[in-house]
Every structure is written in C-alpha cells, then in structure tokens.
C-alpha cells in the first residue's frame, strides 16, 4: 500500500479491450483528469474494495491504488509509469493523448 500522506487514485484495465480506466464515485472514467482523488487512505481502501466488485462482475482487471500529486487543480501521478499509462507512449502520439484532453507532461 502507498504512503498514507500521498493522495491516491484507483486505476484498472477494462477486460474486453484492455483500456486504462480510472475510478470515479462508484464507476469508471477514461481520463485521469476526471478520476477521483482520495486524500484519506481509509476512504481510498473502501473505494478499492468497491472497485473490486467490477472484477467479480468481469468488467475490469487488476484495480489498484497509485500515488498522485495535486497542484492547482491538476493531477499528476507520482511515478512515470502511471504518467505514461495516463497519457500514452512518449514516443508516439497514440493512446489517451490522441483524444486530446489529457495534458500529463513528463
């Protein structure tokens, strides 16, 4: 589990196509910027338990919590792995960045 003081988000992959998803208030959204940020670890754990229901329902695969930094309303994952996941490969303009709305610079 991540350090308590860092805000966290929940991500998973959609089962049928592998699409990266972010948790938001009991459901999933496509963009990191629209996802829910948890500042309280207990709330995050409760949400993760809820997110696991989607695994049981065969909608998503492997939900997990990851650390983010929030500054001026912008959310940025703490680790490069999650930045790349949220945006798409840095070497081609495909993935979520192709949709245009996801400014998560490295």
């Amino acid at each position: 589990m991540a350090k308590a003081q860092e805000p966290q988000m929940i991500t998973a992959n959609r089962l049928r196509d592998g699409e990266v998803l972010y948790w938001k208030a009991g459901d999933w959204v496509l963009a990191l910027s629209e996802g829910e940020v948890f500042t309280d670890p207990k709330t995050a754990d409760i949400a993760l338990a809820q997110a696991m229901n989607y695994v049981t329902e065969n909608k998503v695969v492997n939900p997990y919590l990851f650390d983010v930094k929030v500054a001026g309303g912008d959310i940025k994952p703490a680790k490069e792995r999650e930045i790349i996941r949220a945006k798409g490969p840095t070497v081609r303009g495909e993935g979520k960045q192709a949709l245009g709305a996801f400014d998560v610079s490295l």
Binding site: N13, G18, V20, V55, V61, N62, K79, E80, T90
Partner: protein, 553 residues
C-alpha cells in the same frame, strides 16, 4: 519455405476454436482472470500498460509476402497501423482488444501463422541465423532443424509446463548471428573430423537478472539423435530445476549450480535412456522431407559484378548488402532503424510495400533478424539499385546495419508492464547523436543494446555498449555496460558503475565512443579496444567529464 500439412492446419484451427471458447468464457465470467491468464499467455496475449499486446510467432524469422500482407492488414484493422519486430524474431501488436483476438487468430491461421508458445513457461519460438540458406558461410540451412524442433516442441506433453520459459536457437556458421550462446539451449550445425554433418549442443546460457554464457554439452550429436539429445537436456532441466524461486528457475541456474560436468553426466544418462527406448530417432527420410520445403530457388547464372546505383547506394551496399552463396546474388538487410525512429517498428504501408518488393525481387521470402531488422535473402545484384531506390521511398534504406545507430531496444516503459524505464527514447536520442554517417563509419562495428528492465529483452548484456534502465525512487536511471557480445566471441558486459539520468546517458555513451576513437589501434573495433584496455580508462573519462560538466553547468 515450410507449408502446413493437414495436421498442422487442423492443429492451429483447433487451437483458434479452443481460444475462442476460452475468451467467451472469460467475458461471460465462467473463467476468472486467474484462470484465464495462463490460457491467454499460451496464446501470446499479454495485458500491458495501455492495452493487450499480442505476440505472433515468426518461426525462425521467416515470412512469406502473403504472411507479411496479412500482418499489415491486422495492423490496420485490429491495431494502430504498425507492428513491432522483436529480438526473438517475432512480431508484436500493442493495441489489441481481447474481444478481437479470436477473429485475429483466425486470420493468422489462414496464412499458416499463430501465437502458440510465444509466451508462458514452455519452449518458445525457435530462432535462427537471418542469413540461413543464403550465406556462403554455412554448412547447411539451419531452418529444417528449426522446423523439426518446432514440431517436436509444440504442445510437447512433458514440456508445456516447464519451471520457466525455454529458448532455443540454431546456427550453422562460425560467425554467430543468432546469439547462440545466450540461449537456454542452442544447436550449432558442425562437421566432424570425418566430414560428417551433425550438431554441437550448448545449454545454460541466458540474459535476465543472472546472465550466463552457455556451456557446451556435447561437441557432436549424429543427425538422427538430435531430438533425443535435446529431449535429454529438457528432461534434466524439467526434473532438476528449482521451482521455489522465480529468479532461479532457468536452466542457466541449474547448470551453474551443479556444474557443467554434472550437467553433462545427467544429460548423457537421459540420452542413453531415450536412445535405448528408441522412440525419438529422427528418421532421415523425415529430415529430407522437411528439408525439401527449404530448398533454395534455382539460381540463375548471373554476372557477379556489382551494379552502379544513385546517391547513397554505395554506402548502403557497404553495410547492408552481404555476400550470397550464388554468384550474381546478394543478401540485403533492410534497416528498421532509420535515424530517430523506433527500433523494430514497421508500418502497415511499409509491410505491404515490402511484400511487393519480395514478390518482384526476392523469392517471396523475408527474414526477421534478432537485431530487429528485416532481410531479403535472395536478391539479384543487378536488382539492388532498384530495391535501394524503393526502400529509400519507404524510409527503409538507412545504411547502418552493424553500425552504432543499428540499436536494439525493447519496448520499455512506453509499452511494457514489466519495464522500469523507457528504452525507445534513449535509442532515438543516441541515433540522432550519431546520425552523421561518416562518423558512424569511422566508429565502425559497435552494437548498442538497450533494455528497460533486468529481464533484458533488449539484450543489454550482449551489447558492445549495453544500457539497462532502472527505477530509482520513481525516476528513470540508466546503467552502462561495456564489452558484451552476442556473437561467437560471446561475453557478458561489465557494469561501469553508478547510473546516469535520462539526459546524461547519451553524453556518457558519446564519451565512451570518443575515448575509443582516441586510443584504438589500427583495425580495432570498439570491442577489441575494450578487451585490450579494460573498463578503467573508460570509467575515468566518463565520470570525470561528467563531474566537470556538472561543475561547469
């Protein structure tokens, strides 16, 4: 090339139908992800950072134009218009949807292709010299044996659930283009003192966390005994390998734990047992039947003169064209490393155009090399200018085969779920830094290989200059290794010392190269100079100048 017989076609069609059912059951929830994961991996399907990735087997790196056109079609219809050729001579698609995979596999089966055993703890795609059947250096074409190994190892009941994956390569020349000694098991086709052709078998090589160079198990196995011998090695591995620790499960760990002599003794015991049973003798008529599929085309009698070409042709000839066994013919390497591009990537348009080139100028055949390039194995020298001109139009005529910009790089953190750091941007930055062709020629043969994690898909241990990406508190760092080789003079690179940041690593490589240019003796490649003077002088230059740069900055 090999064509499926009735059995092969039925086998692949049944597997497609089986996986279609498995996907349906996964989507319906009849299978959990834990139950499904090993099944999808057996069909080459991974879940990566952004999507599913499908790895398609290209047995011993040989493709027909029909197959390449199908791969282009799949890239367009099921992916984002490109594919990535890998260091196991396979092709990966990065943006596959699980729901599409059964249809995609049906399409592959229609051109005699599949994804079986491209993942999981089984015997993986057998690789070979990309110049097989064309080079004058070889004793015989290694691909018939590769095909026999493929048939023997496909769903082999004993070896479907090994402790870990198992990689086999076959070569037939003194000059090793297939990185034989870095394989779990490798076969080199040799001629003994009596002039008989047979097989030298090596085992226990590998990269990854604990790299080892393979040991020779036997100097000579008779043709009809080769499967018995390979099975003996696999049996010892299967029985005696550790299964309690994922980092100690490869055959290299076993061989080096019990010692090569003990390994040979155990293999010899199994070999005797298998031979006594008499069930695994390779019938020579079957070998001849398979070999017939690989019979070279009837070469025309042609002039051996090299033709003249347009601008850049002479440079391309120098590095990308190699001697062929037939006069008037040549082997042409198509670089997938144009300056600043992603190593190993090819677009659907490039694949289609290459398929046309194959039909016009080659014998409907192309090879994938483990260095992530493509090869036209049988082209007429007189056609080389036209081939070069067409490749130029396609941005596929970069004259850098074997030079410093011919870089191997794994997909790294841009795509791979296991990676700790990105590989491709480092390859691109180095490619741009050394783009000047006269400088590349001055540097000469220098192989840079980059991996984004310790699993070493980018073969960094075998790089003359190897780069390993690591994660240091969430930030990418790069370790430098010098002196590795995947050729006949195989060696594991030495680690230089503390790693470099993303923006420091290309400068560090340049300092290594500049120092080599300064101290090399006439005729020395980088590797030769490194072996003569060792790590220390390079280390001093790289770290001292880095310190100076930091202070100056």
């Amino acid at each position: 090339m090999y064509r499926y017989d009735e059995f092969d076609a039925k086998f692949v069609a049944e597997r497609v139908a089986q996986f279609r059912g498995q996907v349906e059951r996964r989507l319906s929830g009849a299978l959990t992800e834990d139950q499904f994961k090993p099944l999808r991996l057996m069909n080459g399907l991974y879940l990566q950072l952004h999507a599913y990735m499908l790895r398609i087997a290209v047995p011993y790196g040989t493709l027909s134009s029909r197959q390449l056109r199908k791969l282009a079609h799949i890239a367009r219809v099921y992916d984002k218009g490109f594919g990535h050729f890998t260091t196991r001579q396979n092709l990966q698609f990065n943006w596959i949807k699980l729901v599409d995979v059964p249809d995609l596999l049906s399409e592959l089966a229609s051109v005699e292709m599949h994804c079986i055993q491209t993942s999981g703890n089984c015997i993986r795609n057998v690789t070979a010299d990309q110049f097989a059947g064309a080079t004058p250096e070889e004793i015989e074409d290694p691909r018939p044996l590769c095909e026999i190994i493929r048939q023997w190892s496909s769903l082999h009941p004993e070896f479907v659930f090994l402790a870990r994956k198992f990689k086999i390569a076959v070569g037939a020349t003194e000059h090793d283009r297939a990185a034989l000694q870095y394989h779990d098991m490798a076969v080199q086709i040799v001629r003994n003192d009596e002039g008989h052709v047979g097989y030298k078998v090596m085992a226990g090589g590998g990269m990854g966390r604990t790299p080892y160079i393979a040991h020779t198990m036997t100097e000579f196995v008779e043709r009809e005994d080769i499967l018995a011998y390979l099975e003996a090695v696999l049996r010892v591995y299967n029985q005696d390998s550790r299964r309690d620790n994922i980092h100690k499960q490869r055959i290299k760990i076993l061989v080096n734990a019990i010692g090569v002599e003990e390994m040979r003794r155990r293999v010899a015991r199994e070999f005797d047992e298998i031979k006594r049973m008499g069930t695994l003798q390779l019938p020579l008529e079957e070998l001849a039947r398979i070999t017939a599929y690989f019979t070279a085309p009837k070469f025309e009698t042609l002039s051996d003169e090299m033709p003249e070409g347009g601008a850049g042709f002479a440079d391309w000839m120098k590095t990308n064209v190699h001697a062929h066994r037939a006069p008037g013919y040549a082997i042409a390497t198509i670089s997938l490393k144009s300056i600043g591009q992603i190593p190993g990537d090819a677009s659907a348009e490039q694949m289609d155009a290459l398929a046309d080139l194959m039909d016009h100028y080659s014998i409907d055949e192309i090879r994938v090399s483990h260095e992530q390039n493509l090869v036209l194995p049988h082209v007429k020298k007189r056609d080389l200018p036209a081939i070069f001109a067409r490749l130029k139009d396609l941005d596929l005529a970069t004259p850098n085969a074997g030079l410093i910009t011919d870089i191997i790089a794994c997909p790294g953190l841009d795509y791979c779920d296991l990676a700790n750091a990105r590989s491709i941007p480092i390859a691109q930055a180095l490619s741009k830094k050394f783009a000047d062709l006269s400088r590349q020629h001055d540097i000469g043969e220098l192989k840079i290989k980059i991996s984004g994690c310790i699993n070493a898909c980018g073969h960094h241990h075998a790089g003359h200059i190897g780069i390993l990406g690591v994660d240091k508190k969430g930030v990418e760092f790069y370790q430098l290794q010098l002196g590795g080789s995947g050729a006949e003079d195989a060696a594991i690179g030495d680690i230089m010392g503390p790693g470099f940041g993303e923006h420091e690593i290309t400068g560090a490589v340049e300092r290594v190269v500049d120092h080599y240019l300064k101290v090399r003796e006439p005729g020395e490649r980088f590797l030769d100079t490194y072996r003569r003077i060792g790590m220390e002088p390079f280390k001093n230059v790289v770290y001292q100048e880095q310190l100076y740069a930091a202070h100056a900055g």
